[in-house]
Symmetry: C2
Subunit: 247 residues, 2 copies
C-alpha cells in the first residue's frame, strides 16, 4: 500500500489522497497488483467493486474512467472491465493536444518531439548494431521499396515508415524505448498535418536514408547508423527550422 501511495503522490499533491474517487482508483490499482493480474485479465464488475471497496457506483465509474484514460484498465462496453495494456497512449494524447493548442506552439512541439526522437534513435545504435551485424532483412528492405514507390508517386508513406521503425526496433530488449519511439512517431504524424507544410523537395532523401540505416546496421557499424539517422531526419529538421524562421 505504501507503494501505491507513492504513485499517487505523483499526481495528487496534498489532501486529495483522502478523496474517494482518487483513493478508489488507487484501491483498484492495488487490487490488480495484489491479485497479480496482467494485461487482458478481467476485473470484477462495477457493482462487485462497489461492494469490495465500499463506495458508490458513481465513484467506481469515475475511478475506472481515470484508469482507463491511463490505459491501466480497458472497458469493453456491455461485457466487462479488463486490465489494460499499460501503453504510452496517455502520453500521445497529451502531447497531441498540447501541439494542437495554438498554431505558434505547434511548430515548437514538433521541433521538440523531433529532438527527442533523434536522441532515442541515436541512443540505441550500439544495441541495434550488435543485433543486426551480419544479417539480411528482406522484410525491412521490402518496406523501403514500398516507401520509394509511394514517394515517387507523390503519395504519403507514413504507414510504411511507421512499420519500418517498429520492426527495426523490435529486437530491442527494452519495451519502454520501443513504446516511446512509437509514441513520439505517432505524435509526430498526428501533429504534422496541422501545419500544412508543403511537400519538401528533399523528401526522397528520407527514403534513401532508411536503406542507409539498414546498410550500416547489417555491417555492424553503429557510427554509420547514427550518421544515417541524422540524414534521415535532416529534411524534416530543415522544414521546421525554415518555418520557425519565417513565422
Amino acid at each position: 500500500m505504501a507503494e501505491a501511495d507513492k504513485g499517487a503522490a505523483v499526481l495528487s499533491q496534498d489532501s486529495r489522497r483522502r478523496q474517494t474517487s482518487w483513493s478508489t482508483a488507487e484501491a483498484i490499482k492495488g487490487y490488480i497488483r495484489d491479485h497479480g493480474l496482467t494485461s487482458g485479465e478481467p476485473l470484477p464488475t462495477e457493482t462487485e467493486l462497489c461492494e469490495v471497496l465500499g463506495v458508490s457506483r458513481s465513484s467506481v465509474r469515475e475511478a475506472i474512467r481515470t484508469l482507463a484514460s491511463l490505459d491501466i484498465v480497458q472497458v469493453r462496453h456491455g461485457y466487462g472491465t479488463y486490465v489494460g495494456g499499460l501503453s504510452l497512449a496517455p502520453l500521445v494524447s497529451g502531447l497531441v493536444f498540447r501541439g494542437s493548442l495554438n498554431q505558434d506552439g505547434t511548430f515548437g512541439t514538433l521541433r521538440e518531439v523531433l529532438q527527442v526522437r533523434i536522441a532515442l534513435d541515436l541512443g540505441v545504435a550500439d544495441e541495434l548494431a550488435a543485433h543486426y551485424r551480419g544479417t539480411t532483412n528482406s522484410a525491412l528492405r521490402a518496406l523501403v521499396t514500398q516507401m520509394r514507390a509511394h514517394s515517387r508517386a507523390g503519395e504519403s508513406f507514413a504507414a510504411q515508415d511507421g512499420e519500418f521503425h517498429r520492426q527495426l526496433l523490435a529486437p530491442l530488449d527494452n519495451t519502454l524505448v520501443r513504446q516511446l519511439v512509437a509514441a513520439f512517431w505517432e505524435v509526430h504524424t498526428n501533429v504534422v498535418p496541422m501545419l500544412g507544410i508543403p511537400r519538401a523537395a528533399d523528401i526522397d532523401s528520407t527514403v534513401e536514408a532508411h536503406d542507409e540505416m539498414l546498410d550500416a546496421l547489417e555491417a555492424g557499424d553503429a557510427e554509420a547508423y547514427q550518421q544515417a539517422v541524422l540524414r534521415h531526419y535532416a529534411p524534416l529538421r530543415n522544414a521546421i527550422d525554415q518555418a520557425l524562421a519565417n513565422g
Copy 2:
C-alpha cells in the same frame, strides 16, 4: 450554434449516444482550444458545461475526471476547474505502476528507464555545451557540495540530485526534453525504493561525476560531458546488472 447542437442531439439520439462521455471530453478540449485558454485559466463551472454541451452533470464529471488524470484540466474542490499544466505526470504514474506490478518487472523497468535517461542526457550534450561554455555556475557547484556531504554521512541525496539535473537542463530550449528527463528521474526515484538495493560502495563516484559533468560543460567539451554522464550512471547500471544476474 444552437441549431447545430440540436441537429447533433437528434443524431446522437439515433446511434451515437454510446460515445457521450468520450465526445464530452473531446468537446471540453475543443472549448479550451477554441477559447485560447492556457494553463491556469478557469473553465466554466460543471453546471455551465452541462448547458453548453447539452449533457448531464455525471457525464461532464466523468469527462473532467478523464482530462484531470491527463493533467489537461485541474480541479479545485469547492472553487472551480482550471486548465491543467499539460505535464507528463500521467506518464510517471503509469510507469511507476508498471514497475510496481511484480518484483521481476521492477528491475526490468528500472533498467529500461535508465537506458532512456542516458540516451536523453547524451542527446542534449551539444546544446548544453554550447550554452555553458565559459560560464561558472556556483549554484550547481553548491548542490554538488551538498550531495557530497550527504553521501559521506550515509544519507540520501536524492533531493539535491533532482535539483541539480533540473537546473542543469533549465537553459534548454526544449520543454519536452526537460519534462521527460524530470519524469524519468521521478520514476527512477519512486521505483528504486521498491527493490531494497544495498547501498553501492561506488556511490561516491556518482557524486564526483556531477562535478565532472559541470567541468566538461563549462569547458564547452560535449564529448567529455558525455563520458561524465556515462560515469555518472555506471554505479547504478552495475547494481542493476548484478541484481538481474543474481535474480
